[in-house]
Symmetry: C2
Subunit: 446 residues, 2 copies
Amino acid sequence: MPDDTKISRKEFVKKATLTGVGVSVAPFSIVQAKNNQKVRIGFIGVGLRGTSHVEGLAERPDVEIPALCDIRRDNALQAQKIVEEAGLPSPELYTQGETDYKRMLSRDDLDGVIIATPWLWHVPMAVEAMKTGKYVGLEVPAATTIDGCWDLVKTSEATGMPCMLLENACYFRNILAVLNMVREGVFGEMIHARCGYNHDLVSNNVLMTEGGDFGPGTGAESNWRTRHHINRNGDLYPTHGIGPVAHWMDINRGNCFKTITSTATKSRILHDEIVERGGHNHPKADIEFKQSDLVTSTITTANGESIIVTFSTTLPQVHDQDYRCQGTRGIWQIGNNSIYLKGVNAYDEWEPFDKYQEKYDSILWKKEGENASGESHGGIDYFVRKAFVESIKKNTTPPIDVYDAAAWSSIIPLSEESAAQGGHPVEFPDFTDGKWMTNERIFATR
Amino acid sequence: MPDDTKISRKEFVKKATLTGVGVSVAPFSIVQAKNNQKVRIGFIGVGLRGTSHVEGLAERPDVEIPALCDIRRDNALQAQKIVEEAGLPSPELYTQGETDYKRMLSRDDLDGVIIATPWLWHVPMAVEAMKTGKYVGLEVPAATTIDGCWDLVKTSEATGMPCMLLENACYFRNILAVLNMVREGVFGEMIHARCGYNHDLVSNNVLMTEGGDFGPGTGAESNWRTRHHINRNGDLYPTHGIGPVAHWMDINRGNCFKTITSTATKSRILHDEIVERGGHNHPKADIEFKQSDLVTSTITTANGESIIVTFSTTLPQVHDQDYRCQGTRGIWQIGNNSIYLKGVNAYDEWEPFDKYQEKYDSILWKKEGENASGESHGGIDYFVRKAFVESIKKNTTPPIDVYDAAAWSSIIPLSEESAAQGGHPVEFPDFTDGKWMTNERIFATR
C-alpha cells in the first residue's frame, strides 16, 4: 500500500485549515485505537440494516460500540440490547429527533461511524461525521445527487477523513474469484460487463404495505423509499451492480466511467398494485409515479469497455443482479454460473464455474469463509464490515473509498438526467480530478 | 385476414403505373400457381444458406424450382443436383456473372424468388425481383442502409409485390410459445425484452481462414462478410434477435420502434486473431477494424417498452441470442429457460419452462413439429419456408412483411449512427407511414 494513502493527523488538520471547511475539530482518536486494538464505532440508523451491522460488529473482538443513534427509540433500545448481550459496555443512545446524530458525532471517543439511514440523510450525516473526525462507513447509495457526491469527496479531501462505501456485493465469493481471474488475465482484456439490481420489492411488501400504503409510519422502507418513485425516474440503486464491475474494470485506478445513456420504460406496477390491494378509492390510487418499472443504462469507460446496468424494484421477477464479465478470451455469467474460455472449452460449450471458483477463490473466503457464511447476506456483510474495521485499525484509505462511492452513486442522478432526455449520453464528472490515471488498486490487494 | 392484404393483378398494375416505377411487367403468375397448387420458385444465391433452402423446398410437394442463379457455377450445379434427386424437373442455371440474376428474373414462369446472397446484394436483387412481379423471400438482413430499407418498401408498394423477410428465429418453438403467452396476457402488459446475436464466428473460421485470411476466394462468408468489420461499426446482424421481440411487442401492428441508442466497445479480436494466426507480417495484420467487438443497443417503443439488443460475432463466447420477455405479471428468459409469474410461483423462485412450453405450444409445432425438426436449424427453417410458400399460394401478405424487414434491418444503420455519436439517441423512420397504428397482426395468426 502506498504511503500516501495513510492519514496523518497533521495532514488532516492542515487540509481542514487550508480549505476553510467548517470543521469541529474532534480529538483524532485513531492513533489511540491502534494501540489498544479496539476501534470504537458509533451508529447512525439502527433499522433493519444498521441493526444487522450492530450484530456483526458486536461479535468482533476488536470493536466497541459506545453510541447508537436512531429517531426511533425502539430501534435504539433493541440494538443496545444486542451490544449488551455480546458482553460489551452498554452504548449510550441518541434518540432525540432527526438532528440528535450531531450530538453523538460531537463525542470524542468514536473512531468511526456507520451510517445506515434513509438515502437522503447519507450525505449530511457523512459530511458531519467526517468534519468531526470520524472514519465513515456509509451504506449504499452514498448520495443521490451530483452535488451530494461532490460534498462527500470535497469533505473527505478537506478533513482527511475517509468515507468507505459499505458495498457488500463486492465481497460475493464468485465476484471475488472472477476478480482474481480478471487480474490474472484469464479473460484477456476486458470488453464488457453486465450488472444490475432487479429485485421485486413490491410483492414482499417492502415498498408498500399489504394494504397498498406507504409513507411515514408504514414500514421499515416504505416509510421513505417508495417516495423516491413518485418524483424521480432513473437507476435509483446502482451500487450493488456496479461495485463488482468497477473492480473488474479498475475504475478510478487506471480507468474511469465516461458516459451513460439511460432508458426508462413506462410505469405501471406501483399504481396497479395500490389499486389491486386497496381499490380505486385508495388514498394513494391517484398518485402518478414518475419512476418507470425498468431503467436500463449503458456506461462507457475510458478504456473502451461497455457496461449494461439494469434497475427494477417493482416488476415481478426473481432477484437478479445479472453479473457478467466478458473479455477478449472468455466470459463468465452468473445466470448459469458458467464460464467459457477460448482454447480451454469446446466451441459453444459452457463449463460450470465450480472448478474455477475453487482455483481462484479469494484469500478472504479461503481464510474466513466458514466464519463469514453464518453472518448476514451469506457472509458478504462480514467482509465489508471487517474491511471497514481493519481500515480504521490500520489507519488507511478504505478499499472502497470516497471516489468509488461518488462515481458509483453518481449513476443515480446521471441516469435520471439521461432518461429525462430520451437516452441522451451524459458525461460522468471526474471526482478524482485526474488521479484515476495514476491511482493504484486498493481493493482486495491486501 | 383482412381483404386489403390480398394482391390482385389489377392493383399491382395500377400501382406500378400510377407511381411511375420502372417495372418490367412480367406475366403475373400467382393466379396460375393457385390453380395447380405448385409454386415455382427461383433462387438467387445457392451458397450455404441458399442450398439449405433448396433442400427444404425440393422436399415440398407444392414447390417446383425451375431456375437457380449463383456466380459460382459449382454451387449452382450442386443445388441443381439436389433438385433433380428430389424428382423435380432440372432447374435452369444462371451463372454468367454478377448480373445474371436479372436474366433469371426476366423469366415469366417464376412465382417467387428466394434471395440468399451477400448482404449488399439483397436490396438491388429484391427490388428487381419485385419489379419483375416475383414474390420475394429475402434472407436476413433485408438491407444495411436506411435508403435500402426505403427502396424495399417503396418498390413493394409501387409494384404490389410482397417481400418477406426469411427470419427463421421467429419460428423457434419456445419463442412461439412465449408469443402465445404474451397474446393471452400471461405476462401482463409488456415492459421489456432482450435479444441479440452473440455468436463467435472467428473461432469457427467463418470470418477468417485458419491462416487468418479473408476476402474474395477465402471462404463462404469470409469472402464478403468480414469486410463489413473494416468500415462499419454497429449492430450488423439484428434480425435474429429483434424478430421474435417485434412479434411479442406487436411492432408495426399497434406499436412501433421509436428510438435507439447504441454503444460500441473497443475493437480487438479480429486484429489480434490475424496476428495470432498469421504473425505480425500477415498481409492483413495492419488493418484497423472499425467494428467494435460488442455493440449494445437500447430501443424504445411507442408503447413505452424498452429492448436491449446485443451484437458480437468476434468475442469468444457461447452462442446466445439472449431472449428475455418481461411484463407486468412475469418474466421468461432463455438463459435458464425458466419463467416466473406473479401469483403463480413462490417469491423469487424460477420455474422451468417445460410445462408452459407444452401448454402454450404453437399450433405450427404441434401439427408439424416432427416433420420440421429433421430440417435445418432444428426445424425453424421448415416453418419460415412454409410460410413463404403458403403466402404465395394464398396470394397474401407474408407474415413477416416488407415493413418488418425494413424496421428490423434499419437497426443496422441506426445503430451505426448512434454509436458514431457516442450513444446519442436516433429516431426510427416510420416505414409504415402511420399504418402501424391500425395494422392488424398477421404473424402466427393463421
